[in-house]
Symmetry: C2
Subunit: 494 residues, 2 copies
């Protein structure tokens, strides 16, 4: 017998408002139950490749399906294939964290469904973005010379910064491009060996190539070596290369190390007379930048007042669902010079000084992402945000203390934020391959157990475990259970 | 007296599950009421620049704010500044349309908050994306040689296609970049004078420059002139230029004209021996591609079986909230060659043949966008989707018939989809400036009235009004009211 359909499914319009209300309440209840129980699910999905695919039909059904069936498949097909970033024991990569107000903000954004490409296509989308990013700027203690725009990811922000640097170098690249010209020098971007891969990817995308990125060595604490940077730039200048930009990182991906931004800025200042137009300084604080909200950590963003651009991801450590990247620039007119193209069909009669964010980057279509950030900031308040960040830093100190007191573990990097790098090195084992097998074995066993999810990196040739804190559901008790699981797998192997 | 706070606000964790349930129901009710009443609001926001900004505090409050206050500000501050893309009389640009199942899908995505960068970071995110895009491919009648990935916008898809074309040309650009090399020819992309501005923006971004784009003339119906294309490529080849790609459009932005993709593909085939590696053919069907779902319109995507890549936006005319762009490629390995970078911290022990979508483009962070598309497709079903598209095409025929029968209006382009281009040309007025003033005046008056929102373009020097159909709430009656409003403003001026 065919199931009854919801109103609206046989019309040519949207889901009927009453049906929306009913299904919406069911979805909210589903989410509340999910978030309440996520700690009991395996963190890393245990499914083998292809399992989800095999659970789904090969083609869409002709007939509408009742929402109840779709929600049932969320439980039966989707959830088992989810790696739970919401889980209190998700400690891999950076432990990004959404939140209740962020989820509700995202629902409202989807409902309003505006495209904020132009000011007039929703003044509130543009102005709320400006205001909310200004609030965030103040929270981070940054100067008022920075203007913000929300983009999807830090990868795009960094690529955009590199494109702006290329534009400011005034080499006619927007008009004439780079290929087949004999009047262009080689162009180069400098970043540390510990910078995020998005710097290299951005450089590849905008046509600088991998050779267009010079990886500057780091010191023993994985921070960019500023003398080496200056030397690299000077030797490139001597060879006729045009240095375009330096990307410094506050909170590198492997160890969360902090490049010495003030010293980098000073070095770039010294070089100013040799590079007309200057070298663009972009600061990638995608994860670590958020910590500057705390008075006692404000120093992590020292030097940003001399930077040309800065990126921080509220979708990482500021409780906002992915995606929400705050990208700040000192000279928005350079972004506009690099990217603005206004065909007739996008011309408006609005005042010349309104901000049309489509002019600031690659994408024309722009979701109203500011709304969720605005709701998150207001719901928690400055005090609440600070309390949560401090709590995460305390949890990281707990892990640090555990590693440091452990007879078999050794810590492999300082812990400036909430990510701890360590490995097992039992007495008598010095062979790096053997240590790699041991630590990779522990990691794999812990992850497969579903108890916790950690990731790894490599530091000076040493296979390194990473435990990142950042989830709003993590408690000291649950964290201790994760540490016990690591201990258990370690004991089973030593 | 201070207001009572919600549970969770004074903790260091997320909003409490009970509070989420309560606030979630309130938000769902808010959305249901909003969608139910949106037709009574002014389509274009009447606020002057700065008004929303002035309604907001200059800094975030220290203390958490109750959700009730935030929701009240949605009504008081945000809604008046919204241009209602959900309004049944939103006919500007392309009339994109979300839907109930899409909004609920977005809420679930925000709740799960996974980053689908790697297969293992949520197998269901990757596999549901593959399966749903395969369903969509079948719905559009496209061949099985196309593999899909969801990106945020067609702007990014097109830029990615151009970067893939650059990679396939095998000029060592990924490694060595383009600047300062004397072994590279000039590179060029061809697209019609009616292509979307994102083609030029993509070319600027990847370093080809505006000169790297050759605008091919169109015929009287605004379709790319294939002879002119072939001639342009041959003359460039003779001059030593390397043709990289052709971007053809199915549904151009101004008039929704359809470039002759089969003839373009045949021309590129003829040129194959002269361009080792071939010229990449990218088809931009961001808006129009969706119509291929209808058997009687399947022909609009003829030729895509010979294309290297194709883009269609479910967030435009497929009832999915922004952003959701389906990008199909024939050789994903070229995308991977262009973009894949796997630092140690993103290496996995997963099977070699799993898809890690981070390898397919610029962005590392990837929202689980497939979920909303999957929910939209299932909730409406193939029959329901087709009925809605047919209904929009019928509404567009209604507008076309009205224009064609109108004593003062003239239609300025064929109507292959659901967008109608026209202008007023009263007897006796032939001066283009006068006609521009008249039509711009009508447009501005209709838009300011809040009754409807139309946009404009320019066709062969003629100021042109555009009326785009695509909203799930539009009815024949409401549409007639819009046509009457146009008539009224026209009568007031003639």
């Amino acid at each position: 017998m065919p199931q009854p359909l919801d109103p609206g499914q046989e019309s040519v319009h949207d889901m009927d408002p009453d049906a929306f209300r009913r299904h919406g309440h069911a979805v909210v209840d589903w989410i509340a139950d999910y978030l309440d129980g996520v700690g009991d699910l395996p963190v890393l999905s245990p499914l083998p490749p292809g399992d989800v695919t095999r659970s789904l039909p090969g083609a869409l059904a002709d007939r509408p399906e009742p929402m109840a069936d779709i929600l049932r498949d969320l439980d039966d097909v989707v959830l088992p294939g989810i790696t739970h970033w919401n889980h209190p024991a998700f400690h891999a990569y950076f432990a990004i964290t959404g939140s209740g107000p962020g989820i509700l903000g995202e629902a409202v954004t989807a409902a309003l469904n505006v495209n904020g490409m132009l000011w007039r296509t929703s003044p509130a989308a543009t102005e709320l973005e400006q205001v909310t990013l200004d609030w965030l700027r103040q929270l981070l203690g940054l100067d008022a010379g920075l203007s913000g725009v929300i983009v999807d990811t830090a990868s795009v922000a960094t690529m955009t910064a590199l494109a702006a640097a290329r534009e400011r170098a005034d080499l006619g690249i927007r008009e004439r491009g780079m290929a087949g010209r004999d009047d262009l020098p080689a162009l180069r971007v400098y970043t540390s060996t510990h910078a995020h891969s998005s710097v290299e990817k951005g450089a590849i995308t905008i046509g600088l190539g991998r050779d267009g990125v010079r990886a500057v060595p780091v010191d023993a604490d994985f921070r960019m070596d500023v003398d080496a940077l200056e030397e690299a730039i000077r030797s490139d200048l001597a060879a006729g290369v045009r240095p375009l930009a330096v990307v410094a990182t506050v909170g590198t991906t492997s160890t969360t190390s902090i490049d010495p931004v003030p010293a980098i800025a000073t070095a770039l200042d010294r070089l100013r007379s040799e590079v007309p137009g200057g070298i663009w300084l972009h600061v990638d604080g995608a994860y670590g930048g958020t910590a500057a909200m705390l008075a006692e950590r404000r120093h992590v963003l020292a030097g940003v007042e001399q930077a040309d651009s800065f990126v921080v991801n509220p979708h990482k450590w500021l409780f906002t669902p992915i995606d929400c990247t705050a990208f700040y620039v000192r000279e928005p007119e350079v972004l506009r010079r690099a990217f603005s193209l206004v065909p007739e069909y996008l011309r408006t009669t609005d005042a010349e000084d309104v901000t049309n964010y489509m002019d600031w980057g690659v994408q024309l279509g722009r979701r109203f992402r500011a709304l969720k950030l605005w709701m998150v900031l207001r719901y928690f308040g400055r005090d609440g945000l600070e309390a949560r960040l401090r709590f995460h830093l305390e949890l990281a100190e707990r892990v640090t203390a555990w590693v440091d007191a452990h007879p078999v573990l050794e810590r492999l990097a300082p812990v400036p934020f909430s990510t701890v790098c360590f490995r097992a090195r039992p007495a008598g084992i010095d062979d790096e391959d053997e240590l790699r097998r041991l630590n990779a074995g522990v990691l794999d066993a812990v992850n497969r157990s579903g108890e916790a999810y950690l990731s790894h990196t490599e530091l000076d040739g040493r296979y390194t475990l990473r435990l990142a804190i950042g989830n709003l559901r993590t408690t000291p008790e649950r964290l201790d259970r994760t540490l016990a699981a690591i201990d258990r797998e370690l004991s089973a192997r030593t």
